[in-house]
Subunit: 137 residues, 2 copies
């Protein structure tokens, strides 16, 4: 196992998968800087992402690879893959079209905690597509 | 337990902590949009963040609350807390000064995977402070 300072200071890519073999990956719109979603990758998903150029995740619920947009058409073209200091998290800078979240919004982060409360959310975005028309139920 | 559609469509804040009682939180610079770091919160850290207005995480290695910047002075003032569709991840929009990463960079994501390789990183940022002067070793 690589030493902590090597992982932090060197230029060898040694992603640190957790005990389940997963690493979190944040998809960020390369143009707007908006955080679109967070999902997980196993080694196979990361390799598929690197070699195909399109974001591929590992679905923890379905226990299977999941090429983002395979069903909806809303693919994420990967422009850059960043890794953090201890190499246990990735940021993917991606080019996308409209509608990245399956609920119908551009980003999964479409609600914010309201001021002076710890219980109540408010919408901070509007839907950009109708998911009922995109996903066959 | 709340139904999936309620969690996604409603305005009740019901953060979904994992089996270890943790939820990932992404700190994003409110001005530049840069993703600064990713850490974890337990319920207590989230409450401390909401009520103090400054990002407080749970250190998985030290098993203790960790107010970001307590030692270094590089506090994160929380301007907005966003939650994703299934409420198992947070984005904190934060105001910060220079030097958020303990290695010396503004962001923990200071390296990117080089083109046409799956092994080699390159630096995409320069250090903004000397951590040896900030942290007593």
């Amino acid at each position: 196992m690589a030493a902590k300072t090597d992982i932090e200071e060197n230029l060898e890519f040694v992603p640190q998968f957790d005990e389940d073999g997963l690493i979190p990956a944040i998809a960020q719109d390369v143009r707007s800087g908006q955080v679109l979603m967070v999902a997980y990758m196993n080694r196979e998903a990361l390799d598929a992402t690197i070699h195909s150029g399109y974001a591929t995740y590992f679905s923890r619920s379905r226990k299977a690879l999941w090429k983002k947009g395979q069903e909806s058409g809303h693919l994420q073209k990967v422009e850059q893959i960043l890794v953090d200091c201890d190499q246990d998290c990735l940021v993917l800078k991606v080019s996308v079209d409209a509608g990245q979240c399956h609920v119908g919004y551009q980003s999964c982060f479409y609600r914010a905690l309201s001021k002076n409360t710890d219980k109540k959310l408010e919408f901070v975005a509007e839907k950009v597509y109708d998911p009922r028309k995109t996903y066959r139920r």
